[in-house]
Subunit: 347 residues, 4 copies
C-alpha cells in the first residue's frame, strides 16, 4: 500500500509536532510543510528533511526563502497538489480562507480546535467518533481541553449510558515559549459563564451533557480540570472500577499523587520529560488516582492536560479515518502510539 | 457603657488587623496583644499604643522584651486577667492548649478558622448565625473561604429555602509576605476529594448542602471561587435579581469586569488599594457581575476572596455577639464597617 | 502665605499618589486633577474632594463626565488657568504636546521620569540638585530607578569626591494592577547594553560615572539593584561607616535581612504595609545592611525600589524648589515626610 | 580498547542525564546506577537497561527493591567493585562519607559542583583544565554557574592574558520539577556579598579575577548572568571579534535576540526543545549577540545557563581525563557532543 501523502500547512507549535508524529508512522509521509517566510522554523524542517513550501502563493514571498539559504518548493497550492490530506496548523482566523483552498484543490483537510465546529460541520477525537469521520471530506480535531475531557468522559459514558458534567478549567495563561502574556500574579476568570470549553465536547459526543467555567492562572505548563460528573442511577460503578477503567483507556495515565510523589503539574511534566518524547511532550491525559472519588452518583476527579501536545496523536488517527484506512480507533491509536514510542527510543 | 476589654493573643497577619479594627470601634478597646518575643511586630504594637504581653507566662521570656527596649506587661495570664474577651490569633495547633487557659481564666474566647469546629463546638460568621452565638462562652470565626462562601450563599439560601452547592476553589499558594512557599510554575490539586473547605459552611449554616474541590496556584493575592449552586424549583429568581440582592448584601462588592476593567484579581486588589484601608485590605467579597448566570435552576458565578482580611470585621461583630451587646447582625456589621471607614479616612 | 496651587494632569498610578501627598502638606493645595473621561478614577477624586477636569479641552469630552454623574470643571486649559504649577502625570509620549500647553499658559511644570531629560533640559531629585532647580520654569522628576540610585549614591559621592558605578537592575516586569504583561516564567535581558537606566543619574549628578545592565523578571512588587561602586583611593570609609551614613540619609531605610527576617522583596513590601501608607507604598529606598560590603575600594550592595511610589515625595519637594519657597532640600524633605506621616496616622 | 566502566551513584536530576550521555558514547559504559530504594526512578533505569544498585550496603534496603518488582544487583560496594570510575550524583553533604568509600574501593571518582573544592582539592571543567586533571585519582566537575562562566571567560582570558570580572547572577529559584520552593512573587538577594559563585571559577582557572553578586527570582527554567569584564590595555579585541570567538567555542551558542526573536529565557528553552535532546536540555551556554558590547576596555554581556544540564557533557570529558584516554579537551568535547547528537537523532 502506498503511504498517505500529508501536507502540513503551518509549522509552529502544533505543526512541528504533527509532522514528527506522522514521520514516525509507516503508512503516511510528510510531503511538505509551510512557513510564511524564512525563519528559525525552516532550519527545523530542513534538519528533518521535510520539503519547505510557502503559506502563500505569492512569488515574491516564495523567493524570499532563498535569500536566507532555504530551498522553497513553491506555494501552498503546490503543496496541495502533491498532498492527499492537509493538516491545517495555521494560526486562528484563517480557517474560512484556507478551507476554500483545500476544497478547490480536492484534498482532504483537518483543522485544529482553534477553529469552530461550524467551519467543518464535523469534529473528531479518536475515542469518541473515529467511525463517524470515516472517509469524510474534512473535519476538525477538537482542542486540547475537549480532547482531554473526551478521553476520560467517553469511556465513562459508554459504561453508564448517560452523564451530566460540570468542569472548572484552571488554565495555563501562556505557553512555555511565550514570554509576552501575563498575568504574573493574578487569577483571571473567563467571564463568559458558562464557558464555551465544556460544551465543545458535544461536537464529538452529543450525548454527554456538559458545562464549564474557566480561569487562567500564572503558569505555563498544563491545564488542570476539576470535574464533577453525575452518573445515572444504577450505574454499578465504584471509585475503584472507574480508576481501573481509565488505566486501560488509551492515552490516559493514572498515577498516585502521594505514592508516586506527583503532587502538582510540575512533577507531571517532569515525569513526561523522563518518558523522553521530543519537547518533553505528554500526549496522555494525567489522572490523579487519589483525586478520584465517587460519592453516591456524583464523581469527583482532577486531570491535567499538556496543552501543547495531547492532540498530536489524534491528528494521526484522524488521517486514517478520513482516508478510510483503519476503521477501528483502538487499532489506529495503538499503531500511532507504538510508532511514536519507537521513534523516540534512544538506546 | 464601659468599653468591652479585648485581648489579642498573637499579633501576626490576623492579629494585627483585628487589633486595628477593634481600635476603630467606640464600644471596645484593645487591652493588650501578645508576641512570643521581641521582634518587628512589637514596634507596630508600640506605635499603635497597644500594651505588649508575652504569649507565655515564662518569666525569662517576659524579661527578654526589655533587652530590646520593649516594655512587656506580663504573660498571657496577666493579659487574660484584664480581658473580657480574648481573640486567639495564634498559629494553628495551639488551640486545645489555649482553650484551657481561656476557660480557666473565665474569659470569653474567639478562635480563627485555622482551628477545627470541634474545638469549640460552635462557629460564627456574621450573616449566618450571629444570633446563635449570642452570649456564648466562646466560638470560632470561620476561615476566609468559609466566610466568603457564607457571604453570598446565606442570602441566596434565605431567598430560596434550599441550596445544593459545588465549589472549585482556586487558591493563592502563599501570602504576599511569604517568600518561601511555592509552586513557582505549577498547579497543585488538593487530592483529598471532595475537599474539607466547602462543607465547613455547614458549621454556620447546616441547611446548605455543599461540597468543594480545591487547587493551589502560583499567586499570592486572592482566592477565586468557581461556584455552581442548584436552586429549588420555583425559586422565582433571575440572574438580575440575584445580582441586585448581592449589591445590597453587607460586605459584598459587585462590579463589572468589562465596564469597570477589572478582569483579574490584580485589578481587584488595585481597587482595594484605592479604597485606602491599611495593608490594601479588602474586607468585602468581590463578585463579577458579568460572571453571574442563572441557567434554569443552576446558578454559575465567580467570587474573589482577600484571604488576609475578609474575616477581620467578622471578629468585631463576633465580640458583640458573645458579649450580648448587639443582637442584630446587620446593625453590628454597619457599625463595624462605618467605624473602620472613618478610621482610615485621610483628609 | 498663600498655599501653592497645584494642578495634576493625569490621575493614574503616579497622579493619584502625588495628589494625596500634596493634600497632606500645609503649604500647597490640589486645585484639580484631570481624567480623559468618566471612569473609576473619578470616584476616587470625588471622594477626596479634588476638582475634576478633562485632559482635553474638547467640549464633548468634558460633557461626557456628567453622563456618569461626575461634575467636570472644564478642560486642561481651565485647570491651568487656576494653577501655579502643573504636575504632569500623563502617560508617556505626550510630553512635547503638553509642554507647549504649560508654557503658553504660563504655569510652572513638572514632568515624570517617563519623559526624557531633553524635553525639559533640567531634571530633579531632592538629594542631588534641589538648589539648581530653584525658581526654574519647569523640570523633570527622574524615574523610580534613577531616584533610587541617587538616594544612596549622592551622599556616597559627597563623602568621596568621585565614584564609578556599575549597576545590574533586576526589574519587576509589571505593576501589581497590570494583569496583561508577562513573562510568567522567564528572565528578559534588556539587550541595549549598557542600558539607559544608570546614565540617567548623570542628569541630576553629572559627576557620578555610571553604567547599567537590566533584566526584567516575573514579579510585580519591586525592582532590585545589584550595585558595584568604585571609591577613590584614600576614601577613608568602611562598610560600617557607609551603613551609618545611609541610616541618616532621608528616605533610605536600612534593615538587616537576617535579624529582621526580611530576606526578599516580599518581606520588604509586607513591612511597608505595616507602616500604613495608602496603597502599601514605600517611599524609602530599602538597603539590606548585611548585603553591604566594602572590599578594598570596591563597594558591593543591594537595594530595593518600590517602583510605584519612591518618586512621590520628590514631586512635593520639587514644587517647593520651582516656586522658590524652600531652598534647603533636607528641610523640604523633612516637612514633606512628616506631613505624609501625620496624614496616614490612624489612632 | 575496552570500554571504561562507569558507575553512577545517585540517579536523580544530574545522575539520569549523565547516565544517558555516557550511554551515548562508544568508549564508556554504564555498569550500574544507584537508588536509595524502589521508586519511579528505578523504572527509568530498567527501561534504559542500566543495572540497579542500592546507595547503601544494608541488606534490608537492598532487598526492598524486589518488593516492588525491581532487580537490585547489590549495594554501593558491589557497584564500586565493577566500576573503574564512579560519578557521584548524590545529594549534597554526603561528599566526605562517599569519598572514603570510593578511595577504599580504589576507583576514580567525580563529584559535582554541590560539593566544595576542598573535598577533592581538584576541580574540572573541559575548557579550563582538562589537562591538569589527566590521570588524577578524582576530581569535582564545577557547578552549572561556574561551568557557564568558564565557557565564555576562559577563551576570552586566553586571548587577553588577564581578566577582571564582576558578575550578577539572576538565578532561577527552583527547578521545573520542584513545586515546593518559592518565592512566587519576589526577588531574593543572596546577602553573602560578594557571593561564593564567581570566585569558584578560580578553582579551575586561578588567573581570572572574579567576584559576583546573586539574586534568586521566580522562574524555574534558566539562570542569567549579567557580566562586566575588564580587559587589559592593548587587548586588540572588538565587540565583533569577541562574538566571532564565542561562535567558534565548543558548547557556546550565540544568537540574536532581535533577529531570531529570542528575547527571554522562555524562547531560549523553546529553541532547546526544538533541538530535541531528552528533557529539552540545553548543554550549551546561550549568549545574546546583541547583548554583547565592548566599551573601551570594559566588556558587557548577558548569558543564559540551563542549570539542569550544562555540566552533563563535562562529566563525560572528565571521565576521559581521569582515565587518561584523551589528552585534548577539544577532541573529547567533539566526540562527546557528536555522540550525544547521534543518540537523540530521530529519523
Amino acid at each position: 500500500m502506498d503511504k498517505i501523502k500529508v501536507g502540513i500547512n503551518g509549522f509552529g507549535t502544533i505543526g512541528k509536532r504533527v509532522a514528527d508524529a506522522i514521520d514516525a508512522q509507516d503508512d503516511m509521509v510528510v510531503v511538505g510543510v509551510t512557513k510564511t517566510g524564512p525563519s528559525f522554523g525552516c532550519k527545523l524542517a530542513v534538519k528533518k528533511g521535510f520539503p519547505l513550501y510557502c503559506t502563500s502563493d505569492d512569488q515574491e514571498k516564495i523567493n524570499s526563502f532563498s535569500n536566507e539559504g532555504y530551498k522553497c518548493n513553491g506555494g501552498i497550492s503546490d503543496l496541495l497538489s502533491v498532498s492527499q490530506v492537509v493538516v491545517d496548523c495555521a494560526p486562528g482566523k484563517m480557517g474560512a480562507e484556507n478551507l476554500e483552498k483545500y476544497q478547490s484543490a480536492g484534498v482532504k483537510y483537518i483543522f485544529q480546535g482553534g477553529e469552530k465546529h461550524d467551519l467543518t460541520g464535523l469534529s473528531y477525537t479518536s475515542s469518541a467518533n473515529h467511525i463517524q469521520n470515516l472517509n469524510a471530506r474534512g473535519t476538525r480535531v477538537v482542542s486540547c481541553n475537549t480532547t482531554g475531557l473526551s478521553r476520560t468522559l467517553v469511556p465513562l459514558f459508554d459504561q453508564c449510558g448517560s452523564l451530566k458534567v460540570e468542569c472548572t478549567m484552571i488554565r495555563r495563561a501562556a505557553d512555555p515559549g511565550d514570554s509576552s502574556k501575563g498575568p504574573i500574579n493574578a487569577i483571571k476568570p473567563v467571564l463568559k459563564v458558562p464557558s464555551h470549553h465544556g460544551p465543545d465536547v458535544m461536537t464529538v459526543k452529543p450525548e454527554i451533557e456538559i458545562n464549564s467555567l474557566a480561569v487562567a492562572v500564572p503558569t505555563t505548563i498544563m491545564h488542570v480540570h476539576s470535574i464533577i460528573a453525575d452518573l445515572p442511577e444504577g450505574h454499578g460503578l465504584s471509585t475503584d472500577s472507574i480508576i481501573r477503567m481509565w488505566e486501560q483507556t488509551p492515552r490516559v495515565i493514572v498515577m498516585n499523587g502521594s505514592k508516586d510523589r506527583i503532587s502538582t503539574t510540575a512533577e507531571v511534566m517532569e515525569m513526561a520529560r523522563d518518558i523522553g518524547r521530543k519537547w518533553g511532550d505528554l500526549h496522555e491525559i494525567f489522572v490523579w488516582e487519589d483525586g478520584v472519588k465517587l460519592v453516591g452518583n456524583r464523581l469527583y476527579y482532577f486531570q491535567a492536560i499538556h496543552q501543547e501536545s495531547d492532540v498530536i496523536p489524534e491528528n494521526v488517527d484522524c488521517i486514517r479515518s478520513l482516508m478510510g484506512t483503519e476503521e477501528d480507533w483502538v487499532k489506529s491509536a495503538n499503531k500511532t502510539d507504538e510508532s511514536i514510542a519507537r521513534y523516540y527510543s534512544t538506546s
